[in-house]
Amino acid sequence: MALFTVSGSPHVHGEENVQKIMLTVIYAMVPAMAVSVWFFGLDALRVMLISVASCMFFEWVIQKYLLKGSVTITDGSAAVAGILLAFNVPANLPAWMLIAGALVTIGVAKMSFGGLGKNPFNPALVGRVFMLISFPVQMTSWPVAKPLFAPAITDAITGPTALGLLKEGIDAGKTVEQVLADPQMPQYLDRLIGNMGGSLGEISALALILGGIYMVIRKVIDWQLPVSIIMTVFVIAGIFHLIDPSHYVNPDFHLFSGGLMLGAIFMATDMVSSPMNMSGKVIYGIGIGLLTIIIRLWGAYPEGISFAILIMNAFTPLINNAFKPKRFGLVVRK
């Protein structure tokens, strides 16, 4: 007869596991992937495939030959990092740059800290910022949206993003109205569904929100974190818009342009690098929102969410220490 097992309670276990969580995140990214393929064509698909493949490859190589440990690429975390990295680059990025970015993402930002669960910074963002600083020209010349089945326009047309236009215009002394009237500036609806230039994943706010709602329902992320980021950006931008509407654009422009939605929904909510407790998550979100809008309004870069998230990542351990969950039966000393 087989031996009985002895172990500590509990003797039943929930259905959740890491692979399922990663799959949920991938499913949640499907709408945004579809939109990017729709607007950037097969280039988008190429970028995503290269990114995912090289991230998984580097993870495999490092785990197998460098660390000589067990290989865990099947948990899906490398694939998620790969897709997120692809979401953060323009569709016409040369393959070798992407592969270099993937190496930084996996090799530097993830595996050097001990792999899944140990990285203090969001790996995809580290990869992205590395590429942004190393290849500034390629990383900031976005192809103009060119729907997949639309009649072929001449290739290799690039243009700035909405935020880039705004920044340039304001810096050149134009008023907001003048900038918004620029023919290159995408219209409101285009910004919502993603018919504009930009990185792969960031163009369609609608698709990203859809994925976010799916993740909230599947309890992979907490809604409080993205909402606190978005609300902070909205409120601060709104205050400045009320003070000086000719210099500061209306707040909804900030919400639906640039990487805010991508950052708030998929990047900041990264389990590993975000705080553990609810109050901490809200503080973290407010911090990201503040830094984002500060960089956008007064910084050198048109977009600041990547930097904002990375900076707040560094504060995560402090936030974890300072903001504890609400304890049951907490005795309030008077």
């Binding site: 031996l3 097992t5 002895v6 172990s7 500590g8």
Partner: protein, 310 residues
């Protein structure tokens, strides 16, 4: 241009001077006067910071030693097990004292409940932590005193001196052991004991800590001490004490005569590094590996405790 240069040099210069003055006064104010011999003593200590001496680190031990030298003029009760007699002599020389030689010690695992001797009745499924498993259940083999085989002692060892033997599921101590006592503290069941290393590394000990009566003890493990006290009767030196159905050999009194080993009906008493006996009826082999090394003429290289397999 010159203005800027001048301004910079002046500011930094003044800043530097002011800070240097502050630093000087702070250093004066918080100066700690320390016996220079503490540093000297610390220098000769092994700096393993293992805590084997009973103090948190080598520095602390050095302080205590110097204090003891100042107050009592003796180093009695202070011993660095890692450094051994050599280091203690050096320490004593620095402090102008004498020390008596201490018998070198080694950690001894007093359980032989291998997979063969104490077959598993249940499977344990959980973290590899003896401390937790000890809380949870009696043990896979059913003996509530025996080794759990999850290696808390291995984790606790700073000297790479104790390893699990995967075949028996028991820890094995090797020559690197410095008797710091970390594993003794780590074992939740008190199986590991520090004993005299013995002449030529020869040791005799009861490899069991089971306090149950003979019947239940033997039911779980065929090499358990059943408390028959035969060894006590045969011992010419009064070195064996019986308590709670368990024999214990006092290593200070034991003269390594090996009489107890022969009479033990369950092979619970182990002899290590002794030359092979004259061929005689072999007692029922307990566990092939251990028996081999027990009866093989032992020199330091191929003794069981320095078994390099683990």
């Amino acid at each position: 241009m010159n203005d800027i240069l001048l301004f910079t040099i002046l500011t930094l210069g003044i800043l530097g001077t002011v800070l240097a003055v502050i630093l000087y006064f702070v250093a004066q104010k918080f100066k700690v006067i320390e016996d220079p011999r503490i540093d000297l003593v610390e220098e000769v200590l092994p700096k393993a910071n293992c805590g084997g001496c009973g103090y948190p680190g080598c520095r602390n031990f050095a302080e205590v030693s110097v204090n003891a030298a100042n107050e009592k003029q003796s180093l009695e009760g202070l011993n660095c097990p890692v450094g051994g007699n050599d280091v203690m002599k050096q320490v004593a020389a620095i402090l102008g004292l004498e020390v008596a030689d201490q018998e070198p010690m080694i950690a001894v695992v007093r359980c032989n409940g291998s997979h063969v001797n104490s077959p598993a009745r249940v499977k344990y499924d959980g973290p590899a932590s003896c401390a937790f498993a000890h809380q949870l259940f009696a043990g896979e083999g059913g003996c509530q005193f025996g080794c759990l085989g999850l290696g808390d002692c291995v984790v606790s060892c700073d000297f790479d001196a104790i390893h699990m033997n995967p075949e028996t599921g028991l820890p094995v101590v090797n020559d690197l052991c410095v008797a710091c006592g970390a594993c003794v503290k780590a074992c939740p069941r008190g199986i590991i004991e520090l004993r005299h290393k013995g002449k030529k590394d020869r040791r005799i000990f009861v490899s069991c800590v089971n306090k149950e009566k003979g019947g239940p003890a033997r039911k779980n493990c065929q090499v358990a001490c059943i408390g028959c006290s035969k060894c006590q009767q045969v011992c010419p030196y009064d070195a064996i004490v019986m308590a709670n159905n368990l024999a214990y050999i006092d290593f200070a009194k034991c003269k390594l005569c090996r009489k107890c080993v022969e009479v033990c009906p369950t092979d619970a008493i182990h002899e290590i590094n002794f030359p092979l006996r004259k061929p005689k009826a072999e007692p029922a082999p307990a566990d092939p590996e251990r028996v081999d090394s027990l009866h093989v003429a032992g020199n330091k290289e191929n003794d069981i405790q320095s078994d390099s397999k683990a």
